[in-house]
Symmetry: C2
Subunit: 443 residues, 2 copies
């Protein structure tokens, strides 16, 4: 119905008051780069854009934090911090455009989140306004806060609990140096085992990504990163830190990769080469456009040990559904991004792609994982929420939401499905007594 | 009124059902080592002890997690993991006795939490039963979960939201080696500056503790750790990791300490010596008994840069209140533990000690810190909650609590003060518009 672009808190308070008075739902929106539909406008609603809330309010290089408005772009924070040898760690692929407010709403991740954490551990505090017009300041620069952990609750709350007006971000020292290893494997199982062994040895790489043969062949002619197009799967493993740490870690990782069956290792020996080796992975998604008019990026997470099993299952689904699938993984934490390739001009292709995606997510849950790694629930995963959570758990989500927004005006019909929706979806599981850790003995 | 010691979930469900029926409040209790009164029984209530829920259900050394019942002792987890070269990082001083359930309730810390985090980042998931008898499984082995972050909400919720039945803990590889540096300073300001500089250089030590002259003189004749009793303050800084990392970090830290004005450095060169050098700090609290019949341990947090200012202010308070105070700090994160020494046999001494503690906490908030570092709110800090939070913020806490426990039967009158109490306490601040980051410009 209308888009509002406030410039300050007073204007936000006024917008909220009007919407309360006329019971108009509000959809907060950053850059609109989200992948699960969390910022999709609602008919009869108001879109509250953060486009004009784009100032870095303060950057304290000594205490290592920055206070920014929610519309500040992710990369703009690191750009501003670079002169002090600092950076903001969470690096979603969309960081050129996506906003900090959106990152907080989605608890966004990125390649380097394996080592540096998702958005959550990198946010020190927020200031937000609830639908009722209450101003809350959550968190701070102390390591713990008394009372209930509302800061953690707000991070990843997908626009349901309040409108952010300030976010305090942790800044980290830039690593002195970094090297990436690209390893080729003849068998997917070997690549999966290599991932497990790296983590089991207590190594937390700066990044640990896997690409299957389909995705490698999709991107190599475009990016010319030098990937092995005959490999069943490749791993990219980055190490950062001071020179001694990196030398040590690269040696240990190389040994683990070789012992797991890597047929070839390529190690970067300059910053230029490091960027080049990453350029394939970074261009994987856009490269889908070379071979397919459309793709659907699925986002799910599984325990690392099931990586190979999942890839095999997806191959079988490809045959069944008649759709090719290129797989890119944040292997270090088991977050998978199958890119289902389809042509929307073909009758039913869109629905078929969605069905295949839903089956992949259901398998994630079955293997002890979860229906989203980093893209959020939004609209896209509402039905899958019915599969992952019990009626009791959904009720608690709803109760907490209502503690912040009893009128349910903030981003309705996103993220938390109603019990009614779940009943209709027909997949309501009664999970009383069912463990999320499938191999554990029950009481 | 009664103590229940359930052995399994079925018994817990039965206890909850009876208490719901008769509207009997429940106080969950682990080892009772908490320092803020969170497990203090209530007249007419039931104490639900976790003493019989003391099994380690499963330990997966490869995937590096352990699933334990809430009554398992903190140290028992590391003891069980040691054979795999793993340990559970959060190490409260009471770890010999305190339970994991208590640790989760309080988001407990310890000396090594500066590097490894408080309880929060070390808990992967929980299984709990709400007062209404609902079983919730929160978290899991994936790095992020969809929906609202209820796991984070439960950690640190001080027994208000549910009864834990299983906790999944992250296990970390034991460091190959560790060294501690003990540095002596002639001036408190130098010690404070050294702490800031260590952190500002991007070093996160395994532990960074400060003791003032009073606490050093209190413990040295007992522990004979070799501390400099003439120093105004001493710092203990530990480095752990593989041999190269530790050599490197110890060299950098030593340089920083010296440049900040350290008069003397002592570095451990054997595990035996490392333990000996820590024994003073570890015995600081018990050593108070050498010179005082009673002490009151205050727990607050301030931004690191105000350490020296706070110690000076406490010295002045000592004079005003007529009570000596020995100070021990988790300097790395600004968490202070003033030990106010008093004799409860003296008329009004107890009240005077409490008043001095409250003034110290009020100063913490004024300096931009918080009223608890790691001991929780319990009963002790209820009034201070009125100082730190606005009416709106307290209302949101209450709303979230009611989403879990609408009957308010779980641990009532703990952690979250009523607005009525705050009004009576007379310290209600209207914080609308007031920033928790005092130096920041406001809109």
């Amino acid at each position: 119905m209308v888009v509002a672009l406030p410039e300050n808190e007073a204007q936000i308070l006024a917008i909220l008051a009007v919407c309360r008075q006329f019971q108009v739902p509000i959809v907060p929106r950053g850059a609109g780069t989200g992948l699960s539909g969390g910022a999709t406008p609602i008919a009869g609603g108001l879109v509250l854009s953060t486009a004009r809330l784009n100032k870095i309010i303060r950057l304290d290089a000594y205490a290592r934090y920055a206070v920014v408005q929610p519309g500040v772009r992710n990369l703009a924070v690191s750009d501003a911090a670079a002169q002090y040898g600092l950076f903001y760690a969470p690096d979603p692929s969309s960081q050129l455009a996506c906003t900090i407010g959106g990152n907080v709403a989605e608890n966004s991740g990125g390649v380097h989140c394996l080592k540096y954490g998702l958005t959550h551990p990198n946010v020190l505090g927020v200031r937000l306004i609830t639908m009722e017009g209450e101003i809350l300041e959550l968190g701070g620069t102390a390591p713990d806060a008394p009372g209930l952990d509302l800061l953690s609750l707000v991070i990843g709350s997908e626009g349901l609990l309040g409108i952010l007006t300030e976010v305090t971000l942790k800044l980290l020292p830039m690593a002195q140096t970094a090297q990436v290893i690209v390893a080729s494997f003849e068998r997917i199982e070997d690549a999966g085992r290599a991932v497990e062994n790296i983590i089991a040895h207590g190594i937390i790489p700066a990044g640990l990504e896997m690409m299957d043969q389909t995705s490698v062949r999709m991107v190599e002619p475009f990016a010319r990163a030098g990937y092995d197009t005959e490999a069943a799967a490749i791993l990219l493993c980055e190490s950062d830190g001071n020179a001694n740490e990196v030398i040590d870690e690269v040696a240990r990782v190389s040994q683990i990769l070789t012992q797991a069956g890597a047929r070839h290792l390529r190690i970067s020996y300059s910053e230029e080469e490091r960027q080049k080796l990453w350029s394939g992975r970074k261009n994987a998604f856009p490269a889908a456009g070379r071979i397919s008019p459309d793709y659907y990026c699925v986002d799910g997470t599984i325990p690392r040990k099931h990586l190979a099993k999942m890839l095999t299952a997806i191959e079988a689904m490809s045959v069944r559904y008649g759709l090719a699938c290129a797989n890119v993984f944040h292997a270090g934490d088991g977050n998978l991004h199958p890119l289902i390739l389809f042509d929307a001009n073909q009758a039913n292709a869109f629905d078929t792609a969605e069905k295949m995606g839903a089956e992949i997510l259901a398998l994630c849950v079955e293997l002890g994982g979860t229906i989203t790694g980093e893209h959020g629930v939004g609209i896209e995963k509402l039905n899958s929420m019915c599969v992952q959570f019990s009626a009791e758990e959904l009720s608690v989500f709803e109760g907490v939401k209502c503690a912040f927004d009893p009128a349910r005006l903030l981003n309705p019909e996103k993220a938390i499905p109603t019990l009614h929706r779940c009943a209709e979806y027909g997949r309501m599981h009664v999970t009383r007594g069912k463990s999320r850790f499938p191999e554990l003995p029950r009481f």
